[in-house]
Amino acid sequence: MRRAAALVFAALLAACGSAPRRDLDFDRLHASLQALATDPELGKLALAERALAEAAVRRLDASSINAKEHAQLSYLAERRVDIAYIAAQTEQEKARLAQLQREHAELLLAASRRETEAVRAELDRQRRDALLQQEEAERGGATPPQAGTAAVAAAAANSTPPAVPAATPPVVSLPDVDMTQAAAAAPAAASNATAGRAEPPAVDARRAGSAAQDGSALPATPSAAQAGTPPATPPATQDGAAQPPAPSASTSAASAPPPAAVPAPSATPAAQASSAPGTADAATAAADLPLAQRLAALTPDADSGGARITLEDLIFEPGTATFATGAEIGLARVAGWLAAAPAQAIRIEGHTDATGSPEANLSLSLRRAEAVRDALVARGVAAARIVVSGEGAAEPVASNDDAQGRARNRRVVVQLLDGG
């Protein structure tokens, strides 16, 4: 009996010493929390929520009261674990949001910098355009349009008395210019001669224009003047009126050798008679007639340091050292003038107006002087004779306060040195 009781007691002890009942809910939630704690990204986040979840899981582990209470604690612990996960993910997302906001600020800064650069570039471009337009406007002021020229020419024709009955030789013998634009000046002188006016070719553009109009002040066109017919049209309509009476003249001017082949100063009446009909067509065809006229009429001025020729800035493209169309006329005349004195040294000075920075003006004046030098060397002037300098705006010849003065200050002076 005692043995039986001892066996039963031993069996009960063995039953009590066996493995404890596994709480699956606890194991699952505990493992979940362990996974959260060891997560490389979420493990260090939302520590408070994780502590609450761990406390809830521990309460679940300690609950051995009854199934109802266990279910309640399991319910609560499971949600606490969910809250811990969600809170950790929320902090992770907040960190990502902060990173994105920093990137946004950097992108905005970069975009702002790009926009600033673009605005600056646009402002620079507009400033350059404004400068170009200003320069063009100054050009317009320096060279009035054809109608204005015609008006001035008419006034000049009225005020210029016919002093000398025959054409006088020019002050300085200038070489012939084999450019088509030179026709503008040559027929002008020719028409002067036929009109009995003594106009040397050393007149400025307006005077040259007036010479061309000079013939039309009496007759309408040079050919009409030759024929002695009365004027048919006003000077302003000269272009259109010149063609009907001499339709063959325009074709002959186009097919004939360049009018500049006829020496302007020594134009004979016969030559004038043949070239005069083409003058009106050449004048209508050439858009840069005033510049061509001025360049074709370039003459040297006497100076204390030697004779000099001043090339105006219109032979260059605005703001550059590139020659404009028609600049060859003036360069050819200067080259011919220099060739007449091969032993003398040459000084070429570039000048600008006072607009812009001094450094830019110095650079531009030097580049323009060098461009003139190169053009003269290309036309046979010995490079060893030439000294080049850029003076910038340091030696103005007129006021820089008005457009006319600035236009005069922008120039390139070619000087024959006496001591050379």
Binding site: R79, Y85, A87, Q89, T90, E93, L100, L107
Partner: protein
């Protein structure tokens, strides 16, 4: 000690025992009810109706059932329901915060992509 005084002591002892017995009895203090109601209000304000509607509905139903259980005298059940309502409200608040943060991340990422001149990322929001 007189017999009267002994009777008073015995009565006091009995009263203490009765009071202790009442104190040991489970009950639902008003503070728990107020805490659960405040948590539910917080969840609603956090936008749980959008981001965690299920949890919000559970919390509301459990709070109501807890009130009914308290009125019916089942205080243990009322306490359990209040705890469940509270934890569901907390879960709804957490989900709402996560949802709002993810939306902000998406908006910010799209804005950044637009600034870079790229098409915006089209990633559906994850659900925890």
């Amino acid at each position: 000690m007189t017999p009267t005084a002994r009777k008073i002591h015995v009565l006091a002892l009995l009263s203490l025992c009765v009071a202790s017995a009442f104190a040991a009895r489970p009950h639902t203090p008003p503070a728990e009810l107020q805490n659960a109601a405040a948590a539910l209000t917080l969840a609603e304000e956090a936008g749980a109706a959008t981001y965690a509607p299920l949890e919000l509905r559970y919390a509301g139903e459990q709070l109501e059932q807890a009130r009914q259980a308290e009125q019916s005298g089942d205080l243990n059940q009322a306490r359990r329901l209040l705890e469940q309502s509270q934890v569901n409200s907390d879960l709804a608040v957490a989900k709402s915060r996560l949802g709002r943060t993810r939306e902000a991340v998406q908006v910010q990422a799209a804005a950044n992509a637009q600034l870079r001149g790229e098409p915006g990322p089209v990633t559906p929001p994850e659900t925890p």
